[in-house]
């Protein structure tokens, strides 16, 4: 490597309190690193009152080199020393004028670990309270507007509602059925393997049908809708928010809740019970397949289903789906409307919609479990 491809320095202090720092070679982003620490360390420790930086042998200098010279200036200023930079090539002087700065902007003060931790807890708690208030207020607003809209159906955008219902319902039949089939199959297989030891494999049907009707059918369908539709709602509305389309609606005098949220909630409320039944049906088919593999005749399997499942189980599960549906659509829309600006905003809104949706569904399912237990259902 040619000498001019590298950088070298020589520091010569004298007895009159002066120091001469001679730089030779290239001061660029690759070479500057090698002398940054040694030279700055030297200047900090010698604290020469007058520093002469001799740069007439510097052949090239870029932004990194300017930053180093600037750092020398700052170090001298710190201990009230003087600095003179001599012989800097004209191109470097121009860069100094452009990039050189006497004052560095300090980062904002960061609270200490303990203060930061306590403040973090406080901010999160306050944020959670605000979030709950927003959600309650949104739920109330949607409920009132839903009742009003159902009382005056002409005010609703039924065409949009149908399009959304088609996307949410019929377009999700395949995945709902497949998931139901697999759940039924796995549930039956796992329980049959254990129950066969006691010669009780016939009762697998009882177990699967009750679990599918009361719990897993509604729950799996709601989780599926959350990941499929709540995320879509959050992304759609979030993109509209980022593109100022929501603002445009408001200034056109149109209510975003009436215009965008209600069609989605109504669409989901209409399709979720149907999807749940479809899911349960395919769950029973999956279970039936396992039963036939264990040589249980189809007639007996169907007979067990009729015996084990009651209408209360079936409708008890379906009632839950309306609550799940309202949650799925409501949370998806709310997160979409809350989208902020920035490249990650829509992604964040979608993630929050899915996570919040699933947590809310499971929490509400827990509440239903307790209520049904108390009511003896």
């Amino acid at each position: 490597m040619d000498d001019t491809d590298n950088i070298a320095f020589d520091f010569q202090p004298d007895q009159n309190g002066r120091g001469r720092l001679i730089l030779r070679g290239r001061l660029d982003r690759e070479t500057t690193a090698s002398i940054w620490r040694p030279t700055t360390h030297l200047l900090r420790h010698t604290r020469v009152p007058r520093l002469l930086v001799q740069a007439d042998q510097v052949v090239y200098c870029d932004g990194a080199g300017v930053a180093l010279l600037d750092e020398y200036r700052r170090i001298q200023k710190e201990h009230r020393g003087q600095i003179e930079i001599q012989g800097l090539p004209p191109q470097c002087r121009q860069l100094m004028a452009l990039f050189g700065t006497d004052q560095l902007v300090s980062p904002p003060p960061v609270p200490g670990p303990v203060t930061g931790f306590i403040r973090g807890i406080g901010e999160r708690a306050a944020g959670s309270v605000r979030e709950v208030v927003r959600e309650v207020s949104f739920t109330g607003e949607v409920f009132v507007k839903l009742v009003r809209a159902l009382a005056r159906p002409r005010t609703l955008r039924w065409r949009d509602t149908l399009v959304i219902a088609e996307k949410t319902g019929p377009n999700a039949l395949g995945i709902t059925g497949a998931l139901g089939f697999l759940i039924g199959l796995i549930l039956a297989f796992q329980s049959a393997a254990a129950m066969r030891q006691f010669g009780a494999e016939i009762f697998v049907a009882d177990l699967v049908v009750v679990v599918l009707f009361r719990e897993l059918g509604p729950l799996i369908t709601a989780v599926l809708l959350t990941s499929r539709s709540a995320s879509a709602f959050a992304a759609e509305l979030g993109t509209m928010k980022v593109n100022e389309e929501i603002d445009a609606l408001v200034t056109l005098g149109l209510d975003p809740v009436q215009f965008l949220v209600l069609p989605r909630i109504i669409a989901v409320l209409c399709v979720i019970p149907l999807l749940t039944v479809f899911n349960q049906l395919f769950g029973l088919i999956g279970c039936g397949l396992v039963m036939s593999l264990w040589n249980v005749p189809t007639e007996i399997y169907l007979d067990r289903i009729r015996y084990a499942a009651t209408l209360t189980d079936f409708f008890g599960g379906l009632v839950k789906t309306f609550f799940f549906g309202a949650l799925v659509a409501g949370i998806g829309c709310l997160r979409g409307l809350q989208t902020r600006t920035g490249p990650t905003a829509v992604g964040d809104a979608t993630t929050r919609a899915v996570v919040n949706g699933i947590v809310a569904i499971i929490a509400v399912d827990g509440v239903f479990a307790v209520v049904y237990y108390v009511l003896g259902i």
């Binding site: 993109t239 509209m240 593109n243 100022e244 389309e245 603002d247 445009a248 408001v250 200034t251 056109l252 005098g253 149109l254």
Partner: protein, 255 residues
Amino acid sequence: MAEEPIIEVKDVTLGYDDTVVLEDVSFEVRMGEIFGILGGSGSGKSTLLKAMIGLLTPVRGTIRIDGIDMVTAAGAARQALLAKIGVAYQSGALFGSMTVLSNIVLPLEEFTDLPAEAIERIAQTKLKAVGLQAAAYKMPAELSGGMRKRAAIARALALDPKVLFLDEPSAGLDPVTSAQLDELILGLSQELGITFVIVTHELPSIFAVTDRVLMVDKEARRVIAEGQPQALRDHSDNPVVRRFFRRELAVAASD
């Protein structure tokens, strides 16, 4: 030009959370006028526009449009007020899932009892007014930046508003398209007698279309000048205003 004010902004202070953006802003816009709100980036001009169109509630002060207070109007009064204004956003903010024509049809469908064929006819005339008839059945994503802004103006004109607010209409457009848009604004102003409020920092557009302007400043956080743009350029004592209009390199702007 009539002298009657159609917009009265009085002692308005605006901000987000704890940050005050503009303080004690007062001005009037006269009927039929093309009024410009100017200022550098981050000076609060778009914030002022947001307050004027009802998207942001001022910390204090009143904003009256055609006699109705935008801050306190609710229910039917607010609806009536919103029918008097049209807004064309910087990005166009066209509804991406609808054709250009459907974007214009939408407010007509929602707020009139006109039959469908009449609504479509009206929407077509609005598109013709902005020179976009051929793009009626295109989706917004298929339009160029200039066409999108024209379509946004056509949608804002749908309900024949008295005041049209334009947010940075020339932003991101080439000089020719920008000049065409200026011509469109002048034409609409002359033919329809609409009052325009334009937020911009594009000097050629300011001189080409505005009758009067108001300038807000980031450092001062208030209105620093109001008047005819030529007069402010030639006679303003305020160094920030002079620098803005003469495009002087603002080494001093950060002083």
